[in-house]
Symmetry: C3
Subunit: 633 residues, 3 copies
């Protein structure tokens, strides 16, 4: 697969007179893909049934004639205002019971049948018109599902759909009452129509109720996307993708990804560090103009799994954005570094967002490759440099990593529902383990929770998994490397109930979680070998071999054969040691790169990615501030 | 009165096949009381009128036959889902105007006539069926009034009931307008139906309006409870109680308690320290696994007053709970210490919550005496130890304390309504004085605000009382010990109006509060004798004798005969000295126990209760970490 | 113009029997003005059409006969309860969509036609009755527009009025779509009735939409006020004013002021410091009992501009208030200092709020000049002292200051709408520059954004102006002093769109803002000459002369002739140097008074105002704690 650059473009924002010049400059910059169309519904269909494709025909022709491949987005993330007149009940409601109105974007409820049908209608029309267009080389459905927290809706439409989903899922109300333990607090229902959405209850609702709602909400996204995919695929062989976001966990991306050829995501490293990561102030300050050194890589690896190996960056930050609390400019070099890091993790295409900064509306302070006055913004030269470098290094060559981390969306929902400790966050737990591996110089694959084959891996981590799937259980039984599960792994059923026998319930591992405690930030539970547990500690009972202990002697990790179970949340020091031990036991060589330098191995090369604002030396190489380099393995 | 242990049990949660074994294990543990039934409405009456008592008959029989005395709870805290179909307007509304829906518990409005009648119906049926049952030895009404802030409701039902209450209370709208000073800001009403609930006003509502609403809301709880009590009492001589909570002040517990034989409360020391006490981080860390050393005792003494001498702990924390932000495990010994501290304060029964940890629903992470797999949790052995010790020390022997503290619910409402300083909290003021007394080794009685007899007490404190009742004024005039009032005591009328002459208006004490100021945390007003006022300072004018002064000479405490008036909020150092002086003047001997050790005298013994995680020495005794011991006085 | 003292009085709160005595004491204190009537609607018209003027006739007669001049307020800030029965939809709605109900004050929507007509009716009646009354010497419309954030309303009435305003403003929906850039995200409208208010959207609404709503909301206040002014003016020659508040920016005060003879404002220095200023804790502690040393002065100068030279303090804090989080007492002397500072800035009248502390309702803890029991509160003697001093210094003698600062309400709305950095606040930016000038001992004039004449000024500052008006552009071109614009000045059009050519677009200044970044508090961008930029940095490109640079050499300020453009937000150190340089270049002499001492020059005197709690020495004078003194220039 060839690596390539792209850019996001909105012809409807600009005079038609400058389209050709824009296209020529894109090509001159070395860009080969251009994404268009995904917010243009009001121009495609200004009023119901009044289809206006001339301008889009011409835009595609201009871009395509210049040598660009077009990614065509379906416009369903921004229904025009008339749609709301036609379907007044199509809006999502927030958890406080307020309608989320027109005037920005994503103003629809995934469960609304009428709106889903409108989407099918317009997508079908688009697909029929452009499915065979030689310039349209890929399709994107909608835009950033769940952006602005739009997956969970508490509308009447959602309530009806949820009741139907429950009826299909449980069959009888008795089955649901039993599965959820509704005898507790007399919460038993007589029929499905009595079941409200789990918001605005007096105190917290039944966690089984909430988890079912989370599963339902995810399924609605899958259904919404699948309708569009089916209609597009009927008209074209071009690959279809969706552009996911960073740290969005409200729907199961594996499930959506199962219907798509390619996963893609929108990478805004500086905005994400500011807005979506809990890190100490010193960390945020250190990486203020670079972004977190692991956040992008985590998502690259995650979406490679979601895309079953094929993935893109669909939107790449090129300069300051407009939506984080503070929006500093990237260090010179970062727009290039981010692109190369993506390629190192196997991206086929990296698409900058956007070509020219819009001077109006919500994103007018969001930088593009061009300024509003069409002069070059700093990102343009960096994009051109990447394009030039790609000529020398055109091929994506992915390789299986030695280490795998299981990441599961339902576990995120489960522990959000019932964290038990205020700061127990599943993503955070996985991300800390991922970061710990990266600090040891390792490349990592992320695996879905129903992964049935671990062959080729030497180390597998599966922290915090709600429950082990049958497939993964089987794979672990056959596994000949070193696996570390826990904390909290397999401690519930999928219905959010404590199983008896109690977890973690791993074959051959004689241990049971007798008692669980969550800990405030002030409380440490030091480990004998160094470091400490924080946040979480499970009291293990049983005869399994103890391989880590608290200073007071209580078990902290137990082991049987290839499987270890970790009974707490390790701090950075403890985690580093535990991971090193694990790798050593598995025969995985770990490295000690300087802080802020990250490594990534493809099949052919090792990449050295320096997130620091200063030069570092490693492996006999000098890697400059905000620079990336590579050499053959 | 004999001391005894109990446990909370939910037969409806478990297969009937294991009831007998459970009962036998309870008895074997030394437990003699078992509370059941209080959330079981959906099993007692699965649909309206379909009464299903067979299972409950059998449960009571099994438990009773094993030798256990049953406390039967009325199930009115958890109306089944069908009740909502029957009474769609029965739900409470929060202050933001949102209905508080079905799906957890306490989903009802105390003012709703229809629901109160449904409660009367089911309670009458229960009382008639089990009133004469030999195993049912006590009754509990509902469960934890106001838990989840359910006393204040802003529903249409509440509004109608409030208007009726106002009409009854004030007679004419002119009387109300005058009493509230509605001429201010043209807030005058023409008739009672115009008076809305005091939420969602443009800026703060008239404090007299708010205080009336608080009194009304409390009265609704009293009325709700009284209906149940009357119906139960008609069928049985067994004592009736209600299980109150910690730091719940939304209704007047004395008023509810007047209708009950026994007060009881639910004691969760670790959860309460985390969730319901403002304390410095170091204090919270020090007592993380023990709970605050005074919070339980305060409530023991408060509910002894509410119960007119008779009181129980109805739910005793046995391990980690599920509902605080963080939920660590108690230190070994605490489940025993808490029980013994309750007995030392006069509890007749201490009932652990709950027998077996439920594996499902909201409280699945709440420890019981048994684990979900029926193995012993750590609390079981401690309960058994308490039971064994009770054989040697079976009798409750209360004694009047030398010191009394007046605690008044209406004062809490008044200062919540108009704190004047953001952190002026009445409970906190009383609790700090209570803690100050305890640190001097003293036992304390808590008195209601209409207490008419102070005989036997040497020291009486009445800080922050909205207004002095006629009864208490009279008692203070006759008092021959040392009383300390203030700050803020008797500075308003019961209608929340500044009286003229201005407060504190105490006979014989020539002082007036010329000006009041509240102080941010940074501002200190040091006292001449040491320590400082914080938060609050009243400028006193008049000829009363000054017994404490600021360093700048302004009066800080004045005295006339047996009455002192304190003009500010003392910090810990100032409070300690002021209390010592007071005790010395009154002939009360104070002690200096080590930090974290608390003493409590019954009629016969002195108890030494060590909340520390380490051993301390006092009075020639070594008291271990988290240990309690006692010896004859 | 003569200086004089006044007081706010509510005859309806007190027995008629004491009115005459109150009036006599006022006169004895040296008070000559008394404001009445502004909350008395329920007493003037207890039910619709039932006019009760006898009491008000007598009150005016009693006060006037005693020698007091009456300021008569229209009562429209507190419509009686019956008004709501008549106009149930007259209430404002908050941004969360909740009606803001009856029970306090300001419960009306400025856009409600029916309520505006009711106001016209009662004002007309009042004006006809008292327009020729010899004691009524001034009028006040309503009370504190926007107090309790009442200008922005999201009610159905506001929505209809907004749609009408948009139709009038834009003419066609196509014009609006183009002006707002609604092609972005398919936000295009088909007709005006589709345009909702910009609240409760999924993510942020179009900033052009929000800014239009802000302009509309301001216009509604202007319209509301203008109706009252017209009716009063028809009956009297007495001056009309409105009493504005501190740091209220929700409507354009210049626009309201254009219809009034006199501006006035309500000055609560201690409450404002606590509640309305972001300052470090040490600053708040230092000035806890004095108020911020520049906040009052800023508003004095602002409202002098709003009043086109004529302005009053209509409510002056005399002691602790009731509405801030904490309410300490002023230092002795402050009630005098505040009044004299106002006079030094040109106030004609300073009116203390209020005569006697009300013992009831919301403000019962708000001090007056008298206590509730009619004894003197501390403020009374200070007022009397000011009155005595006024005999010696009776005349207001304003003078043009050497330095001017442009302040613009629309800029506040614009940067609230799109701050880009979380703490970018326009008021703050202007206030820091104002404070910087004051610390150099300078007197400052504040100018409106459409100021067309800068003659007489040596230095002009115009930071953060959304866009330069034609008038101001012209004045700057003719200006022969030193002007400093920026950061952010003239970077948008009035429609909230980035202009091309890009800002700041100043004739003769060859610079363009190529890129803008906002900075978290941790990020500094140090300047070569000392100090640093914080919060904000604009990358300037072009050939303009660089007069300040970052340590890395990038331009920080550029200059052409009389105009400088500042590219970032300077910290205190940088600002002091930049202002000194500017003044030096302009020939303005700066001073170095001790911290906390402020100077103010009238035409005849220099005032020395010591906000410190300790004595300072300057200019050969000793100025005591909380003291003010003056001497001839």
């Amino acid at each position: 697969m060839k690596r390539a650059l792209g850019v996001c473009y909105y012809p409807e924002h600009w005079p038609e007179a400058i389209w050709a010049e824009d296209a020529a400059r894109m090509v001159e910059t070395g860009i080969s893909w251009v994404r268009i169309g995904e917010f243009a519904w009001s121009r495609i269909e200004p009023s119901f049934g009044d289809l206006q494709f001339d301008w889009l025909d011409r835009a595609i022709e201009v871009l395509g004639s210049a040598g660009l491949k077009v990614i065509l987005g379906t416009p369903t993330a921004t229904p025009p205002r008339w749609m709301l007149d036609k379907h007044p009940d199509m809006l999502a409601w927030d958890a406080q019971g307020r309608e989320r109105g027109f005037g920005s974007r994503r103003h629809y409820d995934f469960s609304h049948d009428g709106y889903r049908e409108e989407c099918a209608r317009i997508v079908d029309i688009l697909a029929r018109r452009y499915g065979a267009n030689p310039h349209v080389a890929a399709w994107q459905t909608d835009n950033e599902y769940d952006c602005h927290d739009t997956v969970l809706s508490y509308s009447p439409a959602a309530e009806r759909a949820f009741q139907n989903w429950l009826a299909e899922t449980y069959g009888t109300i008795e089955a649901l009452n039993t599965a959820w333990g509704n005898v507790f607090w007399s919460m038993e229902y007589d029929h499905f129509e009595q079941i409200a959405l789990p918001n605005l209850t007096v105190t917290e609702p039944n966690p089984s109720h909430v988890l079912a709602f989370r599963r339902f909400s995810s399924d609605m996204v899958v259904k919404f996307n699948k309708v569009q995919v089916g209609l597009i695929r009927a008209q074209t062989d071009a690959p279809i993708t969706h552009n996911y976001m960073g740290r969005v966990t409200a729907f199961d991306h594996y499930d959506v990804g199962a219907d798509l050829e390619i996963a893609s995501w929108d990478s805004y490293p500086i905005g994400f560090l500011s807005d979506r990561l809990e890190e100490p102030a010193a960390h945020k300050q250190r990486y203020l103009r670079q972004g977190d050194p692991d956040f992008q890589a985590f998502h690259h690896d995650l979406y490679r799994a979601v895309g079953k190996g094929r993935w893109w960056v669909m939107e790449q930050q090129p300069g300051p954005v407009n939506w984080a609390p503070y929006n500093p400019a990237p260090l010179p070099g970062m727009a290039r570094l981010w692109a190369w890091e993506a390629f190192a993790h196997g991206a086929e295409v990296v698409t900058y967002f956007r070509w020219r900064q819009a001077p109006f509306a919500q994103e007018q302070m969001h930088a593009g490759l061009l300024r509003p006055d069409s002069e070059a913004a700093p990102g343009l030269a960096e994009a051109a440099q990447v394009a030039a470098e790609l000529v020398e290094a055109p091929d994506v060559s992915a390789a299986q990593a030695p280490v795998a981390l299981v990441f599961d969306y339902a576990s995120q929902w489960a522990w959000e529902t019932q964290p038990q400790g205020a700061d127990f966050d599943y993503f955070r737990l996985c991300f800390e383990m991922y970061r710990g591996l990266r600090k040891l110089g390792l490349s990592v694959d992320i695996l879905p929770p129903d992964c049935a084959d671990l062959s080729g891996y030497k180390v597998v981590l599966a922290p915090g998994l709600l429950e082990l799937s049958g497939a993964l259980k089987g794979a672990l039984e056959r596994f000949d490397g070193q696996a570390m599960l826990g904390p909290r792994t397999n401690t519930k059923t999928g219905e959010m109930v404590i199983p008896v026998p109690m977890g973690p319930n791993i074959d051959g591992l004689d241990t049971v979680i007798a008692l669980t405690e969550s800990l405030p930030p002030s409380e440490m539970m030091p480990l004998l070998k160094g470091g400490t547990f924080v946040k979480w500690f499970e009291h293990l009972k049983g005869d399994a071999e103890v391989v880590e202990a608290l200073v007071d002697g209580r078990p902290a990790m137990v082991q049987a054969g290839a499987i270890r179970y970790l009974a707490g949340w390790p701090d950075e020091e403890a985690l580093a040691r535990i991971l090193e031990d694990l790798c050593e036991a598995a025969g995985v060589v770990t490295l000690n790169p300087p802080d802020g330098l990250r490594l990534r191995d493809t099949g052919a090369h090792r990449f050295y990615i320096n997130y620091n604002a200063f030069e570092v030396e490693f492996d006999g190489l000098l890697i400059g501030a905000a620079d990336v380099t590579w050499r053959p393995l």
